[in-house]
């Protein structure tokens, strides 16, 4: 079946099976930046923004999100135009193997958004409660989100949100 979804600000027609998860549909269509660590809703590697809210794409049936907006980590920022959060992750050393990173970035993005760039440490910890990382022990990830929040606050007034410009 064909469904249309807005992915990373572009309207896409995806061919999906009626029993297919959003994770599988995305990966099968080249969005391999969305990772699969369990397909049971228990690791967060597959996080995407669905209408600006983070969801486990392995827990969403693709057919149920027709006409909605999906943002993957690349919709938040790209190698060529990285988001503050992504830069903060690298600066803080929150990226070891990086397999959890796409999901972590999505969750972190949402934390900043929900708290207006003013998350408490507890907001950060709770906001990342669906994302497993076995490499970092989370210390530097929590730090990175804090750093990104601070920087975002500083830049809030000066710069609009990063958009995807790679053609």
């Amino acid at each position: 079946m064909k469904i249309s979804i807005n992915i990373n600000s572009r309207l896409k027609e995806l061919e999906v099976k009626p029993n297919e998860t959003l994770l599988s549909a995305l990966r099968n269509n080249g969005y391999t930046e969305v990772k699969c660590g369990c397909s049971e809703g228990e690791c967060g590697a597959c996080l995407v923004l669905l209408d600006e809210k983070p969801v486990n794409s392995c827990q969403v049936l693709a057919m149920s999100i027709r006409n909605k907006q999906v943002k993957t980590v690349k919709g938040i920022g790209t190698l060529y135009l990285p988001h503050l959060i992504q830069k903060a992750f690298v600066e803080a050393g929150a990226d070891q193997c990086g397999f959890c990173s796409p999901g972590m970035i999505v969750a972190s993005y949402s934390i900043l958004k929900e708290t207006g760039n003013r998350p408490s440490k507890e907001d950060i910890r709770r906001g990342l409660d669906g994302n497993l990382c076995r490499c970092t022990g989370y210390v530097k990830i929590i730090e990175a989100v804090g750093m990104a929040a601070e920087k975002s606050l500083q830049e809030e007034t000066q710069k609009p949100e990063a958009v995807c410009t790679n053609m």
């Binding site: 079946m1 099976k17 009626p18 029993n19 998860t21 049971e40 809703g41 228990e42 967060g44 996080l47 669905l50 809210k53 983070p54 969801v55 486990n56 392995c58 827990q59 969403v60 049936l61 057919m63 149920s64 027709r66 969750a107 949402s110 709770r126 906001g127 990342l128 409660d129 669906g130 994302n131």
Partner: protein, 274 residues
């Protein structure tokens, strides 16, 4: 895995959905998190509830009406007034994980009552009611909905109704070692106070052998008394939930832990009153 030979319907009204539900192999789809786990083989038709407009939270006539399509996180974020809703919010804020709460709905969580439910204990403690749509619409208390087996029938859940009780003091606690982990059990306490006197008490635990349990003896004991009149030991004696052992915890450990957590919660509520 769900079968590849599935069709989807996207009805735009509750009535239409209820009608479609009569078809063989039909199943309602809300967040889909449970459906993806259980992958029922018999399903031929998934009826998406996303377009039914059941994503409202209204407050009218001193009661909350929570549409079945409302997600856990929408409830948690709702700027609640009064005393009832905060109990539910407190429980749901600790359910599953942040991204899952964005997906898990009230309807899906009512229809499917897992041992780890974060929803049922507070709802039963709040004497919540559920309005369902079958051939004839009906309203049941959540407790009846489960006990009488209606939960097992085919129907569409329209919304929850939670009365605001101004004299309410309440609390909820789940038992799990990690934040994001299926809780072994959840305990909710709701006391309806008149002055310093307990007018009505609902002490509920879920995750037990029979899914849920009310500590009716303890409830009776509390009624008509002030909280200071009763010693904790007196209440404690009537807290005896019955569990099944699982690989992580023995039944006897869970019983012990449940009693302690119950008393902790009770003390907290009592303390909060002063």
């Amino acid at each position: 895995m769900l079968s590849e030979n599935l069709t989807w319907e996207f009805p735009s009204s509750a009535e239409e959905a209820a009608g479609l539900l009569l078809r063989p192999g039909a199943l309602l789809h809300a967040g889909g998190t449970r459906i993806l786990k259980t992958c029922p083989k018999s399903v031929k038709l998934l009826i998406d509830t996303g377009g039914l407009g059941l994503d409202y939270i209204n407050f009218t006539d001193n009661a909350y009406y929570i549409g079945s399509g409302v997600t856990f996180s929408e409830i948690v974020k709702y700027p609640a007034k009064g005393k009832s809703l905060p109990l539910l919010q407190s429980s749901l804020s600790g359910a599953a994980s942040t991204p899952l709460r964005n997906r898990i709905t009230i309807g899906g969580s009512l229809k499917d009552f897992p041992l780890w439910s974060s929803l049922y204990a507070p709802l039963i403690a709040l004497k919540a009611r559920v309005e369902i749509l079958t051939d004839k619409p009906a309203i049941h208390t959540v407790e009846d909905y489960v006990s009488s087996g209606i939960i097992k029938t085919k129907h569409l859940i329209k919304h929850l109704i939670i009365d605001e009780e101004s004299g309410l003091i309440s609390g909820v606690k789940k038992f799990s070692i990690l934040k994001f982990q299926y809780p072994a059990f959840t305990i909710a306490i709701a006391l309806c106070m008149k002055g310093r006197m307990v007018e009505d008490a609902r002490l509920v635990i879920t995750g037990v052998r029979n899914r849920f349990m009310r500590f009716t003896k303890a409830e009776e004991m509390l009624k008509g008394k002030t909280l200071n009149e009763l010693t904790l030991e007196e209440v404690h004696r009537h807290i005896s939930p019955s569990f099944m052992s699982d690989y992580k915890f023995s039944a006897s450990y869970k019983e012990k832990a449940a009693r302690i957590i119950f008393m902790d919660l009770f003390k907290e509520i009592k303390g909060g009153m002063r």
